[in-house]
Symmetry: C2
Subunit: 358 residues, 2 copies
């Protein structure tokens, strides 16, 4: 199968490598504006050959992945469709879908969005297993060809991904809630803390682990994120409106010193998070284990290795107070009753005390 | 020196262990409502002896640490002060300070707040090095005794902590911004995502690493947090008001499709986060290194061990797309130019590609 990849960065390069590794008789043709980037992709084995133009890349392709930045996808997809044969499926990998899908009306087009490492750019980070186990959203339209959808679906499964069909609008609202809004809040949090710091003098505040966690994505790559914010601006603004409503309610409970309301709200949040992690993993109920570990190098590594050997899936991990991976208390989230029990045994065998959060 | 510890959980127990380990001729007397908890503290070596009451614990003490829950501190501190000798310094470890310090008017009292592991409760997690390198806020009042303040300061230094004096109101505003507000936003985020999930059907959304990071503290222990929210309700509500203002501004930029405004806001946030991490560490400029790592067990451990051996301080760490510590791309934040350069070399020697975020 001839597969065209337009834009060979992290995602496009990884698609090429996955196709070359996992799809029988795959021939991957790369296209892109930047010749040196294409050469790097060739050298890295992400593509079999580099085309001079999108037109020549898709000329006799059976599948085409358009991997440009969100703001350029409309033009690139249209260009690919104009040159692609009648039986070529064309898809994209943009993180918003409504605008693009509304603009493209072609039975060969199926919008797509793999949930995989958007932050590490460049073909040098591409790898064949980037999509292993990753959700890959697909947004087929009513007039999308069933045959071509099936072909695309099969390719994604070959890459190790889990294709999930979703309405473009629902996709964008979903991503607004679980990805774009967290980025917005992280930005707001650091701005506010920086203002506080300026007021308190240069030596303050010392930020704690909860702050580090909450703001990890603050100021993520603007070249990617401004496009995402703009492309999904309506859904994000709607989510922000809801956040504002919820925050105003919390402020009211605080000002009323309403302890029971605050406790109820906090308990609800704990339950919500556990259920979201569980749904994410489908590995059974999530257990929250707390460990005390001594101050010495490599302790996180030791615990991680031990649980890895014991085949325990660590859903999530938090370190407190230090994030330097050398000291402190650890919290582990483990999916499944049996796995959590095994984790407790393995950790206790290492000589560390464990307790489970209620 | 006789040191009374009222309340021997994680913090009180760790104070006892640090005092017994690091302070010459220290004798630690524990007090608390729960006799079995005192027995556990004795068995763990956190205290030398268990007193029957606060009064007998402080009777001839030179220092007293009150480690109860925030809501009970007013009464406990007053009780300790009523029974303590004239030359005994009395402090607490509550995470809000304004209400307490306004209520207590005694030259022997200095409010305190160590920034260390509030989430892992219980003396079984106590350890002598819990405060190593940790900031320990102190809120001396105008009439606090200089001599007693000096004694307390010396004890904290002996524990390995870094005492920082601060006005109680400034402390609470600071903690509202860098600790309490992140907890509020985490709760709001999960509630909103759970609502989205309910709307989209049970199988969605698959939450990504940015969501996991941003919501790690959602629903933190209500027994601790309701008290904190109530004790610092004014400062938190004020911070929420500011968050609402900032969010409304972002929503306006989004609805106006104002790309330059969004880019400027996002770039500012990236700079703010770097500066906050740098101020936190004082280890030089923070570098953001991005690694591609293959899908195999123990890879995070391998990198962590290697950098640990190379004495590189990892300020912060993020995994994407998987948080199971077995796969994916890693982002490392390293403080200091030399350390970052060393980290790059070590990682490249392991055979992984590294790039630095601009």
């Amino acid at each position: 199968m001839k597969i065209a990849v337009v834009g060979v960065g992290l995602i496009g390069g990884s698609i090429g490598m996955a196709a070359r590794g996992e799809v029988e008789h795959a021939e991957v043709i790369g296209a892109g504006r930047d010749r040196t980037r294409l050469e790097r992709a060739l050298a890295r084995g992400a593509i079999d050959s580099a085309a001079d133009s999108i037109e020549s890349a898709v000329a006799d392709a059976q599948a085409c992945f358009v991997c440009g930045p969100v703001g350029a996808l409309g033009d690139l997809v249209a260009q690919a469709l104009a040159a692609a044969p009648a039986d070529c499926v064309v898809t994209d990998v943009g993180s918003t879908k409504r605008e693009l899908c509304a603009a493209i009306d072609d039975e060969r087009f199926v919008g797509g969005h793999p949930i995989a490492g958007a932050e590490t750019a460049g073909v040098e980070h591409a790898r064949a297993d980037l999509f292993q186990g990753a959700t890959w959203y697909l947004t087929p339209a009513e007039r999308s060809s069933g045959l071509l959808y099936e072909r695309l679906h099969g390719l994604l499964v070959a890459f190790g991904a889990r294709p999930v069909a979703i309405d473009p609008g629902a996709h964008d609202r979903l991503l607004a809630a679980v990805s774009h809004l967290p980025h917005v809040l992280a930005n707001v949090l650091v701005a506010q803390a920086a203002r506080t710091r300026a007021e308190q003098g240069e030596s303050l505040p010392r930020v704690g682990p909860s702050f580090r966690d909450a703001t990890r994505v603050a100021g993520a790559n603007s070249a990617i994120w401004t496009d995402i914010y703009l492309a999904n601006r309506e859904a994000i603004a709607t989510e922000i409106d809801e956040t504002v409503r919820r925050l105003e309610e919390v402020a009211r409970s605080l000002r009323a010193a309403d302890g029971p309301a605050l406790t109820g709200w906090n308990e609800q949040a704990g339950g919500d998070r556990r259920r979201l992690l569980e749904a994410d993993l489908q590995g059974g109920p999530v257990h929250e284990l707390r460990l005390s570990v001594p101050n010495r190098p490599g302790i996180v590594a030791q615990v991680a290795l031990e649980l890895g050997r014991g085949d325990v899936n660590i859903v999530d991990l938090a370190l407190a107070p230090a994030a330097d991976m050398r000291s402190g208390a650890m919290t582990l989230w483990i999916a499944g009753d049996a796995a959590a029990a095994r984790a407790r045994e393995l950790i206790e065998a290492l000589g560390f005390s464990v307790s489970e959060a209620s």
